[in-house]
Structure formats: C-alpha cells, structure tokens
C-alpha cells in the first residue's frame, strides 16, 4: 500500500486513527447517522422484524469495511482499473441476459455460485468512473468526437440493461455517466439540444416500452385508473406521507405500513414510512443529511487535484443525490414508479455495499492529495 504521499504519525486519538486510515470524518459521520436512522426506520417498516434489521446491519458492516478498504487505494488506481472493470461489467451483463435468473419476469440477477448479485450495480458505479478516466488526459471542454465516445461508453450498458428489462437502472446509469459529461464541460447548447431530443424521442420510447412500463407511466398520470396496481402504491404512500403531518405519528406508530396498506414498505417505499412516523421535520432533517453528504462530495471534488478525480468525485456525489431524489419523488407522487431504492435506507445488500464503496472512492480522493505549492 502506498503510504508515501503524506507523513504519518502513529495515531493516539480516535480522530488521529481515522485520519491514519484515510477516513473523511465528516463524510463518515453523515453516512453513519443516515444508515443508523435507516436501521430504525427499517425495523418499523418491516413490522418490527429482527432478522431483517440484523441482515441489513451485517450488510452495513460489510459496506463500511469495504468503504475503508477502498479509501486506502490511491485514486489513480481507480482511473487505471475503471475501463477494465467496465468491460468485465459488460460481459457480466451479457451473461445475465443469457443465463440470469428471471425474477418477476426480468433477468437481472446473476448466480455465481456463492452469491447472487446484479451486475448492473457494478455498472452503475463504474460508468461515471470510466467516463472520467476517458476525459482525464483530454483537453476540456470535450469536442464532438469525444462526446460521442463518452455517449457510447454510457449507451452500451444502458442498451443491455433496457433489454433485461430494467428501465429504472437504465435511467440511473444515464444519470451517472451524464453527470460526468456535464462536469467535463459538455456545452450548454448540446445539453439543451439533448433535452429537446429526449422530449421528441419520448413518443418513440413509449412505443418500445413493455406493457407494464407503459402502465406505470399511465398510472403516474392518473393513479385512480389502476387502484389495484402501482396506483394503489402511490395512493397509499400519499396517505402515509400526508397523514404524518408536521411532527409525525412517532416511531413504530405509523398505521399505513403496519396494517399492510402500504406494500413494499421496507424497500422502495420506505420513505413513506419515514415521513408518516417523523413528519415534515423528520423529512427536513433527512434531506439536510442527504444535502450535507452531497455538499461534502462536491467540496471534495473542487479540492481534488486532477481531472479524473474531479469528475469522478463530482459525478458520484450527484448520482447519489439523483438516486435519493428519484426515490423520494416517486414515493411522494412527483415521478412515475420506477424501482429505485432510497440510498442508505432501503432493505437490500448490493446497493448498500456499492454506495458505500463509492464513498470510499471519495475518501480516497480526498486523503491522497499531495501538498502543492500555491
């Protein structure tokens, strides 16, 4: 392990120990408060299931250890490794399409003997890194051919994921890679052109959607049209949030989830449970934590010392925010129902571990800075 960048003393205090192990104290504090809060909410949302909370706590532990391990790796390693991991991720995605398990009619899981996991989770993390690595040695803002290469890096896994079919993950991959492009300095007129094109392509996309995906969009536009399906989810989750009021019904007192009116309370719809029990002030507090994490990430990006690090740190931070926004927007009825979990909150292993790994990268970027003459 490279220890040559900064002088190290033997740690005598906790903060000294944390600095020694290249951990960003502020980020760690925010992440820990968020995930611990998440465990409490999960306990309530799962109908006070010990096993679920213990499972999640174990994954959280694995994720935190993983994050610290990742933080020890010098950032230029990620730059070198990202394209390779990207290629491996693509191969795994194709393997999933060919031999993956079909859960609920979609091929997303790959069984590799020991664990079942979703290769799309790796891809979500590695696409912004690969785009950042691509731009690292190139003059910015990027010229058209380079933008096209970046679009290809993003587009190939998106096409494979759409084929699974998993529209939610596809949108998240586009967001991750898109942020990297944005921070690289993609020209505003191109951005506006893309937005216009996307709006124009919407009808085309519509006709290529699976029936259930079209249904979700229709349901979003008019929840009452399908009171038994996704519309039922949204109606019930709005009742949960709205009945929470300013201060909430209190921990373990939310009725919506506990009486099983609210389906998927412990995964995609956990934000509804949180809002019901903690009210508007709880929601503001949670948003403050999320904002702090993103702000810290952007701060690390601004302070970082090369193009790859800047683009990687900034796009990972914004992607994190995007996940949170899409989930909360969906649960609050602002966005259509797409299967996106609430980061650091929802029950689920791979997503938790991969998110914490991305924060490990941020910590690595921040703690491996060289002293520069100003």
């Amino acid at each position: 392990m490279s220890m040559t960048t900064t002088a190290r003393d033997t740690p005598s205090t906790l903060s000294g120990w944390l600095i020694h192990w290249r951990i960003d104290i502020q980020l760690l504090a925010a992440l820990c408060s968020c995930t611990l809060l998440g465990l409490f909410v999960l306990y309530s949302a799962s109908g006070q299931s010990d096993t679920l909370v213990i499972n999640q706590a174990i994954r959280l532990g694995i994720g935190l250890v993983g994050m610290i391990v990742v933080a020890q790796i010098p950032p230029h390693w990620f730059r070198t490794a990202a394209p390779w991991i990207y290629v491996i991720g693509l191969v795994l995605l194709i393997a999933t399409l060919v031999l993956g398990d079909a859960a609920m009619g979609a091929r997303r899981w790959l069984d590799i003997g020991v664990v079942r996991f979703q290769p799309s989770e790796i891809i979500k993390l590695v696409v912004p890194l690969t785009v950042a690595a691509y731009f690292h040695e190139r003059a910015l803002p990027p010229r058209l051919p380079q933008v096209l290469v970046a679009a290809l890096i993003i587009g190939v896994p998106v096409a494979l994921v759409v084929k699974q079919p998993d529209l939610g993950t596809a949108i998240l991959i586009i967001a991750g890679g898109g942020f990297a492009l944005f921070f690289a300095g993609l020209r505003w007129r191109v951005i506006i052109l893309l937005i216009v094109l996307a709006a124009a392509a919407a009808p085309l996309l519509w006709f290529n959607m699976h029936a259930y995906q079209q249904q979700r969009v229709l349901t979003f536009l008019n929840p009452a049209s399908d009171p038994l399906g996704a519309g039922y989810h949204i109606t019930q989750s709005k009742i949960a949030i709205g009945s929470g009021g300013l201060f909430g019904k209190g921990w373990l007192n939310g009725t919506q989830a506990h009486l099983n009116f609210l389906p998927e309370a412990d995964t995609d719809f956990i934000f509804a449970v949180f809002s019901e029990e903690n009210g508007l002030f709880g929601v503001l507090g949670l948003m403050a934590i999320y904002c702090f994490i993103v702000a810290r990430g952007l701060f690390i990006a601004v302070k970082s010392q090369d193009t790859f690090q800047r683009l990687a740190a900034a796009s990972l931070s914004m992607t994190f925010f995007f996940y949170a926004f899409v989930n909360m927007g969906m649960v609050a009825g602002l966005l259509p129902v797409v299967g996106v979990p609430l980061p650091l909150f929802s029950y689920g292993g791979t997503s938790m571990v991969m998110l914490l790994a991305s924060f490990g990268i941020l910590m690595s970027i921040h703690t491996h800075r060289k002293l520069l003459a100003t």
């Binding site: 040695e137 300095g185 949030i241 709205g242 009021g245 099983n260 009116f261 948003m287 702000a295």
Partner: protein, 633 residues
C-alpha cells in the same frame, strides 16, 4: 494523448469545473425545493384530508377475475365448459408459520408435493396480502372437513370458482386445446393487468390462439376490512367482463367419426368446407385427455404422454410433415398443362422404370411391369410414376415450385390455430440455402411424385384439395365461425378470407384434372376404385398417395407389406372432395406407416365424406319436413 495533454489548460479547466459545480448545486437546490414543497403540500396543506384517509383506511381493493368464454362447435355442442369448483386459498401475511399450516392442512385435505411446489412458486410472485391457492378442485367431503376445522386455520379460506372441463375429451383435444396454470413465461406475453386474480391461461389449440377473446376483463371490488385486514363487507363493485364465447366451424359429430375412422392407427384427418375454408373436422390420433391438464397434470401422467412413442400430444394434422406422394400429381398435371409441357391426349410409353441419360439409376414405377401406352387421364387414374417422371423432366423444378406454391404448399396456411408447420416445397434456392448443393435433375423426378425433400401437413393437403374442388377459389382454413359477446348476447360471424385465386390460362385444364381424379375412384382401372368406389351416392374426386419412408435398394423387389417392420412402412395418403359439381367437403387423410394410400387412407376419407353428406341430407330433410308442417294446410 501527448498532444492532448499539451493542449490542456489546467487553470481554465478548473474554472470550468467550478462553474459546473455551481450550476449543479443550483439544480440540486431547485430539486430539493420541489421535493420539500411537495412533502409540505401533502403534510401541511392536505394533512387533514390524508389524516382522515389514514384513519378510515379500512378499505382494500380486490380483483374479481372474469369468467372465461365457452367454446361450442358449429351447432352449439359444448366443447369447453366452466364447472363450479372449490379451491383452498392461503393468505401468507396472515399466517405465522406457513410450513406448519400447510402440514396441518394436509391432514384434512390431500395436498400433494405438486400442489406444494405450485403454491410456493406462485406465492413468491403474489403480494403477501393476496390469496394463493394451495389446492384446486376440492371434493365435497374435503370442503366439509375443512369447514368443520376452519377455526384452526386463520388466513386459509375456501373460494368458490369455476374450473374448465372438456366434455368431448380426447376427440377434439388437439383442436380445442386446454388451459393450465399461468407461469411467469405466460405473464411476459400478456397484459398482466388482465390476469390479476386469474389462475389459468390457454396453453394449446383454440384455448391458446383465442386466449385474448376467451379471457375477458377482470373487475374489482372495494371491501371494508377489520384491523387485521379481513374483508368484512363489500363497498363498491366493478363487475368483471366475461370473455367471448366462441363457435367453431368444427362439426363435433364429424370430428368423432373422423377420429373413430382412424381407429388405433397413427394419423390425421382434415375436412374443410371448400366454400369458406371452415375446418369441419381435424382429428389427430392417438390423442390425450385435455381434462388432465387443467389443474396441473401429474408428473407421472405427463411423462407417460411425453414418452409415448406414438406422441399423442403432437397435432399431426397441423404439425405432422409428410411427403405428399402421388396426391400432388393433379397439381403437377395442372402445371404441365398450363406450361404446355404435355398434351393431355398424347399417349406416352410407360415401362416399369426409366433412367436418366448418363446414369444407370432406375426410377421405378410402383407397378413393376409398367403401364404401357397411357394418356394424362389414365396416368392420374392409375397413378403412373413413369408418366410423371417424363412430365417432371419437361416441367422442371422451377415450375414445380411455382405451381406447388400456388396451391399452398411449402408455406403455412395461416390457420388460426397455434404451432402450424410449413412443410417443405423444394426449389433450387431452397436446396442452395439448406443443403449447399446445386439442384440435380434426378431430384426433379422424385419431387414431381411428392417424394424426396418435399413434405406437407395434412392441413395443406386438405387446402390443396379445396383449391382443386373450387377451381382455384379456396378460402384460408380457419376454425372460428362466430363469437358471442357475453354482455349483449350478440353473435358476430367471422368473415371467411378468400385466398388469392388461381387463374388458369385455359379453364378446361381444371376439367381434365378433376375428371381424372373422378376416374381414380370411379374408373375400374382407378387406384381407389376397389376401396372407395362402391355404392357411391354422389360424384367424388380423389387421389391416393403413398409416401416412401425407407428407400428400396436398386434391384430389390418391393416386399410383401406385412413383412416390413411397421416403422419402415409407407405412409398412406388420400385426398378427396365431393360432390364434384357442388363441393361441400374436401378431405385429406394421412395414416402413418399405413401402407397403401387407396386401401388404407381411402376408406377413411370415404367414411368421413359419407357421414358429412348424409348428415347434411338428413338436416335438409328435417328442415323441409318442419317447413311443410308449419305451412298452413
């Protein structure tokens, strides 16, 4: 890279990045603001409304599955019915220990391993507050036993429902098909919303091809529940819309006759109404009992059906592909007449075999002594192979292919039944694509007598017979005659679809060929006269065929039929239509390894045609009788 690096302006890039970070932060703030505004709207301004909603949230929406449409034959004889049945549902969320509950249930009603595995696989796909069936079709004693012990099983409930039965059983199994439990694979094909609450879906035959008509649309009801989620009373009902009932073109009496005529042989009979393409009968033997499939067929029964060497699940009428043998000679004759390859009255010398120049391979006639000097009519009547070898040489493979295509060979008929096969009508292009070889002249000779690469389904042969019967104005074969809207009771007839007509340059060519086909049955020299031509009450045209399964060695004498192993015997084929001047039925019969086309397949065709025309005559008579009874004295 080095060039790029040289162009990199680090200070400018840092400024650009800072600007972008500020822009991103602004967007972030706007989105957060939007979200907070939304949550505030719900939690502050609409709080009162949602609080009441939450307190009164004792309502739950449930699906009411639709009733599946019935299937009738053309005269209203029931082919697929819905019968009341009881099923046992488990609502997993109301049960603490699922395995234990199922174990205890097993002491009251019989629960097989198949039931359990079906339950667990379906339970995983259903929200836990919805019921999943652990047993279908409970017997009356089982219903009674459960009712007595009901208290011990909270979260388990008996639901009355309907189950599908097929009164005609094996006779119409291949046509009507069957329904079975919905699988994940099925759900990928259909609109999931329509299948909420449903347990069955069409898997074969009409049940599959008209699934979207038969299924109907689910309704919903809103029920008031107690705190534990149990339904107390019904508040609001949107009734489901039952599926359409279907009337098939099938004549179930004729279907039974065809099935019985095949007896214990493996084979198929297809009878079409040449006037509209309606399938009057489509029998495939051996068959199976479709009722076995409805509630999930047992592994033992299923492997018995799958491993049966006679393959009962296979619909030979639609999927079986057999060399048509001499049954295609009338079509080849029309091609030869139209292209001027032959003169109908010109006599041709037909010895027992011919050879091609430069080869000593003998192309034999089925009659080893040869047919002597014969014209086209005699060649069809006696099914001379040598005459047709000579005809084929002049016609050529390209014409064989184009006239075969005209009569529907080598392509799917487009019948409204699933899993139809297309057969093969070879051509130069086909051989190049599939065998990577050029076309050899010898192959033309065996193709023109329906051997070699050529293969056809019994349905295609019946369509070919219809084209001959209607002189090129046949209709697409179909099974759906009409549908009945369950709401209005209105019966809408399906419109038959005419196929592109076959227009001959000289209409008399039809007469020549049809007349020769009449001779096959009626002329004492005709191949089928002995077997089909006795005591005819109507004029009938036919053509026999035998399809070689194993080739004969060059100098081998065709052995006695009974001494050949069954698997190597020829397939027996026969096509026919009647009455010639006003065709009402066109038939194709294939008997696998049956031996002689005329002697084995011919009588089956005759029996089917007899039954149909007799029935029609009887119906006409009773109709006249009724009319005369009703008329005033």
């Amino acid at each position: 890279m080095a060039v790029d690096d040289a162009l990199k302006n680090h200070a400018a890039e840092r400024r650009l990045f800072l600007a972008r970070t500020i822009a991103a932060s602004l967007v972030l703030l706007i989105l957060i603001g939007l979200l907070i505004a939304r949550v505030m709207y719900l939690q502050v301004f609409q709080h009162g409304y949602y609080e009441t909603q939450s307190k009164d949230n004792r309502m739950r929406a449930e699906v009411v599955p639709p009733v599946r449409g019935l299937i009738f034959d053309r005269d209203g004889v029931l082919l697929a019915n819905n019968q009341p049945a009881y099923r046992l549902d488990i609502v997993p969320e109301q049960i603490a220990n699922l395995a234990d509950t199922i174990k205890r249930l097993g002491q009251i009603v019989s629960i097989s391993d198949a039931d359990k595995s079906r339950f667990y696989s379906r339970e995983r796909q259903t929200p836990s507050f919805r019921g999943t069936p652990i047993r279908l079709s409970l017997t009356q004693p089982e219903v009674a036993r459960f009712e007595v012990n009901r208290e011990q099983f909270p979260g388990v409930d008996i639901r009355a429902g309907l189950t599908r039965t097929y009164p005609e059983g094996r006779y119409a199994a291949h046509v009507v098909g069957y329904v079975g439990g919905i699988t994940e694979r099925d759900l990928r094909e259909v609109d999931n919303k329509r299948y909420r609450g449903s347990s069955h879906i069409g898997k074969a035959g009409v049940e599959l091809s008209y699934e979207s008509l038969l299924h109907g649309y689910p309704g919903s009801r809103v029920v008031e529940t107690n705190a534990s989620g149990r339904a107390l009373r019904q508040l609001e009902v949107h009734p489901p819309q039952a599926g359409d009932s279907l009337y098939l073109t099938l004549d179930s009496k004729l279907q039974k006759t065809a099935f019985q005529a095949l007896g214990d042989k493996d084979g198929a009979v297809v009878a079409l109404n040449p006037k509209n393409g309606g399938i009057l009968a489509m029998a495939s033997t051996p068959s199976y009992n479709p009722n076995l499939f409805v509630d999930g067929i047992s592994q033992a029964n299923y492997s018995r059906l799958l491993n049966d060497p006679h393959n009962p699940l296979f619909n030979r009428a639609l999927q079986g592909q057999y060399p048509p043998g001499s049954t295609i000679k009338p079509v080849m004759a029309i091609g030869a007449l139209e292209t001027g390859a032959i003169q109908p009255d010109k006599k041709v010398w037909c010895p027992g075999y011919i050879t091609l120049p430069g080869s000593d391979h003998r192309y034999r006639d089925w009659k080893r002594s040869g047919q002597g000097w014969i014209d086209l009519t005699q060649a069809i009547e006696r099914s001379s192979d040598v005459y047709f070898y000579k005809l084929g040489m002049k016609l050529g493979i390209d014409n064989i292919h184009s006239y075969g295509t005209m009569f529907g060979l080598g392509k799917k008929t487009g019948v409204d039944l699933p899993r139809e096969n297309a057969g093969i009508l070879p051509s130069r292009a086909w051989k190049h694509a599939h065998r990577h070889r050029p076309w050899y002249p010898g192959e033309t000779l065996i193709t023109v007598i329906g051997q070699g690469y050529m293969s056809t389904t019994p349905l295609q042969l019946a369509l070919m017979a219809s084209e001959l019967a209607e002189r090129g104005h046949a209709y697409r074969p179909h099974i759906l005659k009409a549908r009945r809207d369950p709401k209005t009771g209105l019966v809408t007839a399906e419109k038959p679809e005419p196929l592109p007509p076959i227009e001959l340059k000289d209409k008399r060519h039809w007469d020549i060929v049809i007349n020769a086909m009449k001779g096959v049955v009626n002329n004492p020299h005709g191949t089928a006269h002995r077997y089909v031509g006795h005591n005819l009450k109507y004029p009938i045209a036919g053509k026999s065929g035998s399809a070689q399964v194993a080739g004969l060695a060059q100098n081998e004498v065709a052995p006695d039929l009974d001494s050949i192993p069954w698997r190597l015997r020829e397939h027996a084929l026969f096509i026919a239509f009647a009455p010639i001047d006003d065709p009402k039925i066109a038939v194709a019969v294939v008997v696998e390894h049956g031996g002689g086309g005329s002697s084995v397949a011919g009588p089956i065709a005759r029996r089917v045609i007899d039954a149909y025309l007799d029935e029609q005559a009887a119906n006409r008579a009773s109709a006249t009788l009724q009319a005369s009874n009703q008329s005033p004295p």
